[in-house]
Amino acid sequence: MEIEHVSKKFRLYHERNQSIKSAIMRGRRSVHEDFWALKDVGFEVPVGSTFGLIGSNGSGKSTLLKCLAKIYYPETGRITYNGKIAALLEVGSGFHPELSGRENIFLNGSILGMSKKEITGKFDEIVNFSGVEQFIDQPVKNYSSGMYVRLGFSVAINVNPDILVVDEVLAVGDTEFQAKCAQKFVDFKNEGRTVILVSHSMESVREMCDSAAWLSHGELVKVGPADETITAYLESLPGASAA
């Protein structure tokens, strides 16, 4: 996967008032400031590697992932990749709270582009991996946030993506599930698939990722082997010298 000179601009309206009246009052010129959440970010993710994305809050990690997942479209630059991409951007994204876990697996699977036959074939595997068998016929609004993630993650990995994009959702899973996920990432890598993940847990990035990129205020600071990038990032933090 290649990310070339990607920039993403958001418009910040001073009065975020989406009404016809305010549009008319503003006249032709709309009052907004441009905010560049990503500035000329470019790097390459080798196929079959696990890639970490680190940086402080608001540095543009999620924005970059959304560009990868085709939810946002960058103003400039290009993102090219081969194969199918599946993104897990937030806990329970794509779940309908009133429907049961079972119905949601089918709904979520079809949103992620699986056919009904595929889902039926993988249903048991999905449920097994998630470990929520007992509650599969309960509406998901009664699930704990960890269970949400388990189910969502299980569906996403069973889409059979060539590239899996995961935002920091795994943090809510318990130790057992995190170990399961880590194992899954290793399997993915062995199968030649690519995983891109965002995490604030430096240990898990160090453990799981081959290489990593560090974003700061929308700019790429460093990209390279995970260890080096993390060390550089930690050193840049205030109080790092003491540690």
Partner: protein
């Protein structure tokens, strides 16, 4: 073309979302699907009471069916309009109502408004089925016209879908749209000959003749309304039991196609910006 292909590829998702709407709709209600009949039935009672009993509006008897029942005549126009109005209003809110999905997952966004067409259409099919039974009981010979009724229903669905696509986009950018449209829909219903026959408009129009020295009459302007044509065709088929007026039918098809194409174009152009604008 590539866009159409992508939409076609999402048809399974479309079916699933439609099912989700249908299943979720009357969940935890005792009467279930019967609720979908209550609304039109209540309006029918009120309108019949006010317009047939108090104001004494008298539509012509069905020709050649010979039907002369205000309530049935009313339903032949009211059910299609209620469908149209529901699709437009629900479809319009479908993007805003699924913020979680739109901002978190990539999929062809067009399935959201289209799934509303499906779920509202499902209710409509049910209502029309009941109407046909009522018509048969009242002595209408409606069977030969059912295929054409289905075609017209399809055209109306396409027309409503087109409008819903345009308004769904507008609603994301200007949240006023939904309030505005609910008023427009009320006015629109009264500007369509649903609870009164168009002959009353014709009488008034004849009184004034050509407007501003031209040959354009009030009736001509009144009949620009595409819903007038749709209602006319539905009544010709269901209530009168005869071939629809070819001009009316053709105009329905043209309106449906034109509005749908515009809707598709507008939606496609703004689809990529939707996640940000929410």
């Amino acid at each position: 073309m590539r866009y159409l292909k992508e939409v076609l590829q999402s048809r399974e998702l479309l079916a699933n979302l439609t099912l989700r709407e249908i299943r979720g709709q009357y969940k935890r209600t005792i009467f279930g699907q019967l609720w979908s009949l209550v609304n039109p039935l209540a309006s029918m009672l009120v309108y019949t009471l006010v317009f047939a009993f108090i104001i004494r509006v008298q539509p012509e008897a069905g020709d050649p069916s010979g039907l002369d029942i205000f309530a049935v005549w009313l339903l032949c126009g009211l059910l299609p309009f209620a469908f149209f109005s529901n699709v437009v209003q629900q479809g319009m809110g479908s993007i805003l109502g699924n913020v979680g999905l739109v901002q978190k997952v990539y999929f062809a966004r067009i399935v959201l408004p289209l799934s509303k067409v499906g779920s509202v259409g499902y209710n409509w099919l049910f209502e029309m089925g009941v109407l046909v039974v009522v018509l048969v009981i009242c002595g209408a010979f409606v069977w030969p016209w059912l295929p054409l009724v289905v075609v017209t229903m399809f055209l109306l669905a396409v027309f409503a879908a087109g409008l819903a696509l345009i308004l769904a986009v507008a609603n994301v950018h200007f949240r006023d749209t939904q309030y505005f449209v609910s008023i427009i829909m009320q006015i629109w219903m009264y500007l369509t000959p649903i609870i009164y026959p168009i002959s009353l408009v014709a009488t008034q129009s004849d009184k004034y003749g050509g407007l501003f020295g031209t040959s354009v009459t009030i009736l001509d302007i009144y009949r620009i309304n595409p819903m007038e044509r749709f209602v006319a065709v539905f009544r010709q088929l269901l209530y009168d039991n005869r071939w629809p007026n070819p001009q009316d039918f053709l105009l329905c098809a043209i309106w449906a196609l034109a509005v749908f194409c515009v809707g598709l174009w507008v939606f496609r152009r703004s689809e990529k910006g939707l996640a940000e604008a929410l």
